[in-house]
């Protein structure tokens, strides 16, 4: 007799292939529908309600923010905000990746450097970066540098440690093999080990993106004159949910796109890395 697995329930369930995407999208549809219903009901009761704006209200808010030149600054606010925020993330996380790669690679390959720096790195990576935000603002000022430094420091120690461990995970056999093939110490580090670490660097940057966005929004909320985080905290004073919700969706989309792009690059440029995982 044929065994029949249940559709959905229990550990033996085998959801039909066609049904899977439908099931996956279901919770999102439910959430959106629930919002639309609540919004509709509330606006029926009080058309001036600001907490749950309708879709058309959000669309016109986006039109105003993204496609109308702002009178005071003469820019399209949403694009200007996006640009400043992305620049901060790119500079902060990018430099953290570069410095972290350099430090982690050398700590992993040069035992003298490893034993000297690892305890300090371990200690520093446990300091919550947001707790030292005031310190950063005091030292580097509340301008661009302070915000970029927060993202930099928030990423640096995590990336350094990760790259260190990735370097250490390269089998000893490979190192010895490269030496028997005539590699100098310099060649070993930069031509044998570094290319193998590159995909891991992209992966750890990808995993650090979430934290980087958190630090970005936090620092923009506290002291800034532009940026996506600055904007949502600014319009919060006027309860402008019609701006906040599209902005949050936009930030989410940006994060998702960056994540996908990095994942795409890793799979595309380093097929051997994906195969080894």
């Amino acid at each position: 007799m044929m065994r029949k697995s249940p559709f959905l329930l229990g550990i033996h369930a085998e959801p039909p292939r066609l049904l899977r995407p439908v099931l996956g999208i279901l919770p999102i549809v439910v959430l959106v529908a629930a919002y639309l219903v609540v919004s509709h009901v509330r606006l029926q009761e009080n058309p001036r309600d600001k907490l749950t704006p309708s879709v058309s209200q959000m669309v016109s808010a986006v039109k105003m923010m993204a496609f109308t030149r702002d009178n005071r600054t003469g820019t399209y606010l949403m694009w200007a905000d996006t640009l400043s925020s992305l620049r901060r993330i790119a500079i902060g996380l990018g430099s953290a990746a570069l410095v972290g790669l350099f430090l982690g690679l050398h700590m992993g390959m040069l035992p003298g450097m490893g034993v000297t720096l690892l305890p300090a790195m371990t200690f520093l990576s446990t300091v919550p970066p947001l707790a030292i935000l005031p310190v950063l603002f005091i030292i580097f000022g509340v301008g661009e540098l302070g915000k970029v430094m927060l993202i930099f420091i928030g990423g640096l120690f995590v990336i350094t440690r990760d790259i260190y461990y990735a370097t250490r995970r390269i089998p000893r056999e490979q190192i010895v093999k490269a030496l028997t093939l005539g590699a100098s110490q310099f060649e070993l580090i930069f031509q044998v080990v570094l290319p193998q670490i590159m995909p891991r660097l992209l992966v750890v940057v990808r995993l650090s993106l979430g934290a980087a966005w958190l630090f970005l929004i936090a620092s923009e909320a506290i002291a800034s004159t532009d940026g996506l985080g600055y904007r949502i905290f600014l319009v919060r004073r006027y309860l402008s949910m019609d701006i906040i919700i599209p902005y949050v969706l936009w930030i989410t989309l940006l994060g998702f796109l960056m994540d996908s792009a990095l994942r795409f690059i890793v799979n595309r440029r380093y097929p051997w890395y994906a195969a080894a995982q």
Partner: protein, 299 residues
């Protein structure tokens, strides 16, 4: 068996000890290997075969004693000695041809690397044809079968023309059919290129089939240092020359082949049989043994 070596040989180990803390792994190893030999090393698991190979490679240093290659003390790993491991011999981020050409590139200067680029690639192709992988040059290691990966590893080492090629259980992870193929294949290459190979394996049949000489490394022996059953570091308890055979696996079925295997299994792999250091079967012409006084105060 001789008392002292003339150190004119390719590889010389004299009074080599290796201990990790209080645990002695290798105990007074004496060994000479001459050029052209395919020297196999067998022994029970945990007897320190791989440790011995790492010492020769320069990956580790002996606690006592000296190791000479071409009359020079062994330093860090370098192109004098090639190596093929069971795994991790290939660089996962490089294609087959890049893996093979890597040694040439790393050993060359920056300008040479550019000016002789094509020459290096041609040489790599030559060796890839030798290992019969010419159609797979652009694949990555993860796209190859285990046997093919080991053939690339061989080409990768051969291109450097090392004085001695060290192999650490190179066929240990292959299925029996591929394994036998690779054994025959290795013999062909060994013959064609006149290589000197130091081949570590736990597979007795493989060792007897491949070698021109077999070394049996074992911790099961006795000497006059007291408490006969104490855990000793391993020594070379037997050393036989092996007849050169046609590279055919038919010999594996011959009675003589089986008898030698049985004999070695008894001498090296049986914890109950502990031969005295002075009675080891060190039959090979090159074998020698320097005993300390404590080890043989029988007289």
């Amino acid at each position: 068996m001789r008392e002292m070596p003339d150190t004119n040989s390719l590889l010389v180990l004299e009074d080599v000890y290796k201990a990790y803390g209080a645990k002695v792994v290798l105990d007074n190893i004496d060994l000479i290997v001459n050029g052209g030999e395919l020297c196999t090393v067998v022994g029970p698991s945990g007897c320190g075969k791989s440790t011995l190979l790492r010492l020769v490679l320069g990956q580790e240093t002996p606690t006592l004693g000296r190791i000479l290659i071409n009359h020079k003390a062994v330093g860090y790993p370098c192109p004098d000695r090639g190596v093929v491991y069971q795994r991790y011999s290939l660089f996962p981020h490089l294609s087959v041809i890049q893996n093979v050409v890597l040694g040439k590139r790393l050993s060359a200067g920056i300008f040479e690397r550019i000016s002789r680029r094509q020459e290096f690639l041609d040489e790599a192709m030559y060796f890839l044809e030798k290992v019969r992988l010419a159609e797979h040059v652009d694949k990555y290691p993860h796209e190859l079968s285990g046997g093919m990966q080991q053939r690339v590893a061989l080409a990768q080492s051969l291109i450097m023309k090392p004085g001695i090629l060290l192999m650490d259980e190179p066929f240990g992870a292959l299925d029996p059919g591929t394994r036998e193929e690779m054994q025959v294949f290795l013999l062909e290459l060994w013959e064609e290129f006149g290589m000197t190979i130091f081949f570590v394996t736990h597979d007795l049949e493989e060792a007897v089939f491949l070698g021109t000489r077999i070394l049996v490394l074992s911790q099961f022996y006795s000497d006059d240092r007291g408490d006969a059953c104490a855990q000793r570091g391993a020594r070379i308890v037997a050393d036989y020359p092996l007849a050169r055979r046609a590279s055919s696996t038919v010999v594996k079925e011959q009675a003589e082949f089986g008898e030698l295997i049985q004999k070695i299994r008894h001498e090296g792999f049986d914890p109950g049989f502990r031969q005295h250091v002075r009675l080891f079967n060190l039959v090979h012409d090159d074998s020698f043994q320097t005993l300390t006084e404590e080890e043989h105060n029988m007289e």
